[in-house]
């Protein structure tokens, strides 16, 4: 195992269960994580224990709540929405810029539609306009098949095609898909990609005439 100036493997090993279970406070937590980041065996141990802790939650029995639960839970969410904390809408001052972008988005990846799944992202990045307005996020995911998932918080869209491109490590751009207003349904858009693009360094959104609307960097 590798060396660390503040935490050694023995000390890490003594505390790794508490760390995986979330029972270690700062600053010790950061010290332990710093050690794991430079020590693959300890990192592997931490990840393995964390996976077990997560999976055990999935084994807990499921149970149908009493009638009306969905309405009660929704009412709670609606109360929060109307109390002034609806935080995902882009400010009006940004709307003009945002309208150039996708607006809302559609999900088009057939695999996403056919088989609900969960997976861990290979990379995640914020999507920003050239003016620096934060629009949402983009994820590169490997499972169940390589795909890119774009989520943009924006007003309703202007008509027109929007192209999504990914940049390879060598700097070349590859168009992976496009969407129009008709595709928009659920605020997110996705499409399958070649597995080599899971290591893409950047994403950009352009109009049909090549105008740059937004970018995201995976670095």
């Amino acid at each position: 195992m590798s060396k660390n100036p503040t935490i050694g493997c023995d000390q890490f090993d003594e505390q790794v269960e508490d760390l995986a279970l979330g029972h270690i406070d700062e600053p010790q937590r950061s010290r332990l994580l710093a050690h794991a980041s430079v020590c693959p065996p300890c990192q592997s141990l931490l990840e393995g224990l964390g996976t077990v802790a997560d999976r055990l939650l999935l084994l807990a029995p499921q149970r149908e709540p009493s009638a009306g639960f969905e309405s009660r839970a929704l009412a709670r969410v609606d109360t929060t929405t109307t109390s002034g904390t609806a935080r995902f809408r882009v400010p009006l001052w940004a709307a003009a810029a945002v309208a150039l972008i996708v607006g809302a988005i559609g999900v088009t990846a057939a695999r996403l539609l056919d088989e609900p799944f969960a997976s861990a992202a290979e990379a995640t990045a914020a999507i920003v306009t050239p003016a620096g307005v934060d629009l949402g996020s983009v994820q590169l995911l490997a499972n169940p098949a390589p795909h890119v998932l774009v989520a943009i918080r924006a007003p309703r869209p202007e008509p027109g095609q929007r192209n999504c491109e990914l940049q390879r490590f060598d700097g070349t751009w590859v168009q992976v898909g496009s969407w129009e207003v008709a595709d928009i349904a659920a605020g997110v858009w996705a499409t399958g990609i070649d597995s080599s693009l899971l290591s893409a360094t950047a994403m950009r959104i352009t109009t049909q005439d090549g105008t740059l609307l937004a970018t995201a960097s995976f670095d």
């Binding site: 508490d18 055990l56 009493s66 609806a86 999900v107």
Partner: protein, 190 residues
């Protein structure tokens, strides 16, 4: 062939992204998809159906508030949501100074490997099934310690008090149990 999506056909991650965007009906679909898991865990940890109902509502409210900060690199949507639920349940129990969670009861309620729905669990069936088998194969004191530490979110000190054993003993039980389960999961993965 591409076609427009329906909310109830989205992956967990895509649905949560829609919730973060305040897309109409996304919260209802999200609640419908996960309510049995969330409520089931809340009942398991609290042992109180009324309190569990309130905790489950709070969990969805909190998930809605923090949907934009969800990071798919760190957890599945399901485990992210269940962790929120568990922590809320623990907080509620601490306020009431009650410890109704019975790890033996949870062991009895665990589904057999053949009864686990891999799509609902969103993980590999073999891995989850093996985990359940290995969990039930642990010595009873280790199984109780592991379930108290994970599903019930108890610290080693709290487990020592609940079980009436020294802190070092509680830590050892958690350690041995978790590491044995880790080995089992790793074997399935390779």
């Amino acid at each position: 062939m591409w076609r427009p999506a329906r909310l109830d056909q989205l992956s967990d991650e895509a649905l949560l992204a829609a919730v973060a965007l305040n897309e109409p009906d996304s919260a209802a679909v999200f609640i419908r998809r996960f309510q049995r898991r969330v409520y089931g865990l809340a009942v398991t940890v609290t042992g109180d159906v009324s309190l569990a109902d309130d905790i489950a509502q709070m969990a969805f409210e909190r998930a809605w508030r923090h949907a934009a900060s969800y990071d798919a690199r760190r957890a599945l949507v399901t485990t992210w949501l269940l962790t929120i639920t568990r922590n809320l349940a623990i907080d509620a129990l601490r306020v009431r100074r009650a410890v109704p969670f019975d790890p033996d009861l949870l062991s009895q309620l665990l589904p057999p490997a053949s009864g686990i729905d891999p799509q609902q669990a969103a993980v590999d069936l073999d891995q989850l099934g093996r985990l359940g088998v290995e969990l039930n194969a642990l010595p009873i004191e280790q199984r109780r310690a592991v379930l108290l530490a994970t599903v019930a979110g108890r610290t080693a000190l709290e487990i020592a008090e609940i079980e009436g054993v020294p802190l070092g003993t509680a830590k050892t039980r958690i350690r041995l149990g978790l590491r044995r389960l880790r080995t089992a999961v790793a074997e399935v993965a390779t």
